[in-house]
């Protein structure tokens, strides 16, 4: 039970980091698109790929949390 909770806290912390990261990516991409609307589609693709990489961090943490909750059963 406690192991699961600690893993959950860890997942939450990782989500904070990933949230900041994705926020940054989105903000910068928006800035870029506003500055160069003609490159918008390229920026969008790259943004999604970068966001996917950052998101993976949070998801790893989520999976670790799942691993932790295995103890409960």
């Amino acid at each position: 039970m406690i192991v699961g909770s600690i893993a959950g806290i860890g997942a939450g912390l990782a989500a904070i980091g990933a949230g900041i990261g994705i926020g940054n990516i989105g903000g910068k991409a928006l800035e870029g698109m506003a500055r160069q609307p003609e490159a918008a589609s390229q920026i969008q693709t790259t943004m999604l790929i970068a966001a996917a990489f950052v998101e993976a961090v949070a998801l790893f943490a989520e999976v670790i949390a799942f691993l932790g909750t295995g103890q409960v059963n």
């Binding site: 192991v3 799942f66 691993l67 932790g68 909750t69 295995g70």
Partner: protein
């Protein structure tokens, strides 16, 4: 990690793994053989045909433009030729008119000259006639006058004397 029992969520189920692998591979082969190949081919072909059609249209357009410009050139040329022909015709006409004018002038002048000469000739002839007539008349008149005058002998003598005087002077 060993402490943590695996949550059923994150432990891959071998049965499902086998099923999904087999199904996915079969799906992949069937789809790539019967679906993706013809679809991608058809899409590529259609794209190519559209591109071809577009390039053909472009070519036709260029051809059309070329034809039009050629036509225009021809027209221009024709117009120029017409102009030049007209100009030439005008020149010829002018020349002919001028020639005619000149000819007429010179002919006229000649006629006038002739007429003048004729006139002069006639005049001279007439003058000569008149002179002759005047001289014969004057001779007749003189004869008649003389005859009248010289009915008197003295007067004849005086005249002879005068004439003689004049001869001396000469």
């Amino acid at each position: 990690m060993i402490l943590l029992a695996l949550n059923p969520l994150v432990s891959p189920d071998p049965g499902l793994f086998i099923w999904s692998t087999v199904t996915f591979l079969i799906l992949f082969f069937l789809l790539s053989k019967f679906a993706w190949k013809p679809i991608v081919k058809a899409l590529d072909e259609r794209e190519r045909s559209i591109e071809d059609a577009l390039s053909k249209a472009e070519m036709a357009k260029a051809e059309m433009a070329k034809l039009i410009s050629e036509n225009e050139d021809l027209l221009k040329e024709a117009r120029l030729e017409r102009d030049s022909i007209l100009k030439e015709a005008k020149e010829i006409k002018d020349q002919i008119v001028n020639d005619a004018k000149d000819l007429a002038k010179s002919e006229g002048a000649k006629l006038i000259e002739k007429a003048k000469i004729e006139i002069t000739n006639q005049k001279l002839a007439a003058m000569a006639e008149i002179k002759n007539q005047v001289s014969s008349l004057s001779i007749e008149i003189a004869e008649k006058v003389l005859r009248k005058q010289f009915e008197d002998q003295g007067k004849q003598q005086a005249l002879v004397n005068d004439l003689l005087k004049e001869v001396k002077l000469n």
